[in-house]
Symmetry: C2
Subunit: 349 residues, 2 copies
DNA sequence: CTGAAAGCGCTAACAC
DNA sequence: GTGTTAGCGCTTTCAG
C-alpha cells in the first residue's frame, strides 16, 4: 500500500492540506479541536512527510556536506563523529564525501553541489585546493573551512593556531634538552599551507631559543600518514648525525616514525624523542604513548556547525570570520618517558 | 541571479522542456541539430539540474544510507572509505549515520528513513539491534546487513565466516604451543551475536586440539575497543595463572591489551601472545605488530553496494541472500615475534 | 484560524 | 523526434 500523503490525512480529518501542514510543522496556531482531529488522522494513517517534496517546496535540501580528504584518517573520523550529532540536533543530515585530496573533485563539489540542491552548505577540509583556489568559490555557498587556511573574508574558517601550537611542540623538545630536532611533514608547495604553518612554528621555537635550524632535518612528506612518518624516520636514522628528537606534523606520522625507530633498535624517548599533532586515541595506546598537540575537536565541530547553519539561515551573504579553537600540549611517554621507570634524565642543560 | 531551470533552457533553445530533459538525461534519441541547439543553451545558461526536483519526480532520493555504530572505529572508517566511491560510481550519494549502538535510534532509522524518501536503501551494521529485531523491518526497504548476523531471508547479509575465522585464530595460537588461551570480547546476551560466533570458533579450536576450555579465561566486554582490551588484560595478568596467549575479538581490543601487557612489564609474544581481528592499519604499525584475521573489506564494500543497488532496482522484493566474503589469517610479531631477532622458540611441544 | 490554489523544477505518459 | 501537460507531495500566499 502506498504511503499516506498530506492530502490523505486532510481528507480523513476533514480539513485542508494547509491545516495539516500547520499541525505537522507547528506553524500558525491551530484550534484545539482541529489539532486533535488532525493528530488522530496522522496517527491512523501513520503519516510520514516526504522529505523530498518538503525540501523542494522549501527550496532547501536539509543536508549539509562534510568534505574531508580521507575518511580513514582518525583525526577526520573523530571530527565527523562530533559533527554529525551537532548537525542532527538542528535537523540536518550529513552527507559525507572524501576527496582523496583530488583538486578537481574538490573544485567540482564547491561549484556544483550546492547549486544542484544536494546540500545547503558545506564544511570543508581542503587538501588539494590551495588558498588561491578558494577565492573563486561561489560567494553564495555557505561554507566553513576547517584546518589551516585563513579566511579570505568570504567563508568562515575554524582551526587552531598552528604556528603557535607547533612552536610550543618544538619548544617542549628543546626544553627537554634536545638539540638536533627534526621535523617530519613539510610540504613546500602551494597546497601545503597547512604544513608550512607548522614549519614556521618549528623555526620560531628555534629562534626563540637561539638555536640554529639544520635545514636538512626538515623532511617533506606527501601526506601526513603512518607510511610517510615511517619512511622519513628511516632516512633520518640512517644518517651519521641523526636527530635526538622529532616534531611530527600529525600523530599518524609520529606513530609511523615510532614504529620504525623501534624497529631499528632505537629507544624512545631516550635515543630519540617524538611529538605528534592531533591527539588521536591511537596515540594514547601506543607503546610508548605519544606526546601531542591536542586541538579541541568538540569545539571545532560545534563551532563549524553553528557557523554554517547561521550562514545558511542568513539570506544576506555575511562576511567570513576567523575562529580560533583552543589547543594544548599533552606530554606523554614519547618525550618524557615512562612515569615510574628508573631511567637516566636527559633533560636540563 | 536565480539559477537557470529546465524551462529557461527550453525557452532559449526554442524547444520544449521534454526535449531538454531528453538531452540532459540521454534518453530517447534526439536529432543532431536539436541536440546541438540545446547543448549550446545548456552551456550558455550554465544549467544544473535541481536534484531535489528530479528525485521527487522520479520517486527516489538518489541516496543510500550507511549506518554504523561508531564512525571513529577504524574498521568502519576503512569500510566506509571503500563504500563511498562504489556508491558514487553508480550515481548515489552516501548519507552516513552513527547510532552509538542505540537500539531506538537504529529502529527509527530502519522504519522511518526510507519511507520519508531520505534514502533509497540502507547498508546497516547493527549493534544495538538483536537478530529478532531485524525481522520486523519493512520488507520493502532495500537493506543489506553487514557483520555477523545471518540473513533471515528478507534482507541480504554480507560478512565473513566468523566461526571459522575465530577457530583459525585460536588454532594459530595453539599451533604455536600456547595452552592457556584467553578470549577477550564475549558478549553473552541477545545483541552480542557477533561476539558469540567468535567464542564458538574459539571453543571449536580447543575441541579440535583436544584441549579443555578454562571458562574463566573468556572475558566479556561491553564493546570492542581499546579500553575494553586494556581493562580485560589488566584483570587477566593480575591472576595467579595468567594466560600465555589471548584471542582478541577486534584489533582495537588487541591494541588495548597490548598496551597494558607492555605497561605491566610482560613481553609480547614471549610471555603472552596476542591475535586480533579486522586487520586495521594501526595493527601494522604497533610495536609489536598485531597478528590478525583480515576480512576482505574491499570485497565486502563492493558486494554490499552491488547487492543493495540491485535490490533498489528491482520492484519485486527479492529474497535475501547470504554472501560470504573471504578472510585470511595474517601472522605478525604479536604471535610469531620479530623476524630477525634472536629469541627463544616457544613453539613445539 | 482555515481553505483554495499556485507553484517548487523535473519527469514521463500521451499525443502528434 | 518533439511538444503538451499532468503530476511528484509539500509549502505558503492570498482570501475569507
Amino acid at each position: 500500500m502506498r504511503d499516506a500523503t498530506l492530502r490523505d490525512v486532510a481528507l480523513l480529518a476533514g480539513v485542508s492540506a494547509r491545516t495539516v501542514s500547520n499541525v505537522v510543522n507547528g506553524y500558525a496556531r491551530v484550534s484545539e479541536r482541529t489539532r486533535e482531529k488532525v493528530e488522530r488522522a496522522l496517527l491512523e494513517l501513520n503519516y510520514r512527510p516526504n522529505v523530498l517534496a518538503r525540501n523542494l517546496a522549501r527550496g532547501r535540501s536539509g543536508q549539509i556536506a562534510v568534505v574531508v580528504p580521507y575518511l580513514d584518517t582518525p583525526y577526520f573520523a573523530e571530527l565527523l563523529q562530533a559533527i554529525i550529532p551537532r548537525a542532527r540536533e538542528h535537523g540536518y543530515n550529513v552527507l559525507i564525501d572524501q576527496t582523496d585530496g583530488d583538486a578537481a573533485h574538490e573544485r567540482e563539489l564547491i561549484s556544483r553541489g550546492a547549486r544542484a540542491f544536494l546540500f545547503d552548505g558545506m564544511i570543508f577540509s581542503p587538501l588539494g585546493l590551495a588558498q588561491e583556489d578558494l577565492v573563486e568559490i561561489d560567494p553564495d555557498l555557505p561554507l566553513v573551512v576547517l584546518g589551516e587556511r585563513v579566511s579570505n573574508g568570504v567563508f568562515d574558517h575554524v582551526g587552531i593556531d598552528d604556528v603557535e601550537a607547533s612552536r610550543a611542540a618544538t619548544a617542549h623538545l628543546i626544553g627537554l634538552g634536545r638539540r638536533r630536532i627534526a621535523a617530519i611533514g613539510d610540504q613546500p608547495y602551494p597546497t601545503g599551507e597547512a604544513a608550512q604553518l607548522r614549519t614556521r612554528g618549528y623555526r620560531q621555537a628555534h629562534a626563540d631559543a637561539g638555536l640554529p635550524v639544520d635545514e636538512s632535518l626538515i623532511i617533506p612528506t606527501p601526506r601526513f600518514n603512518r607510511a610517510d612518518g615511517s619512511g622519513a624516520m628511516r632516512a633520518l636514522l640512517g644518517r651519521e648525525d641523526p636527530p635526538d628528537a622529532v616534531f611530527c606534523y600529525s600523530d599518524l606520522v609520529a606513530l609511523g616514525a615510532l614504529h620504525t625507530a623501534l624497529e631499528l633498535g632505537r629507544r624512545v624517548p631516550e635515543d630519540v624523542a617524538l611529538i605528534g599533532y592531533d591527539d588521536i586515541e591511537e596515540g594514547r595506546y601506543s607503546n610508548p604513548t605519544i606526546s601531542t598537540i591536542s586541538p579541541d575537536k568538540v569545539a571545532i565541530a560545534a563551532t563549524a556547525v553553528e557557523r554554517l547553519l547561521r550562514r545558511i539561515g542568513d539570506d544576506e551573504p555575511m562576511p567570513g570570520i576567523e575562529v580560533r579553537a583552543e589547543h594544548r600540549l599533552i606530554p606523554r611517554e614519547s618525550t618524557v618517558g615512562k612515569p615510574f621507570a628508573a631511567r637516566p634524565h636527559l633533560g636540563g642543560t
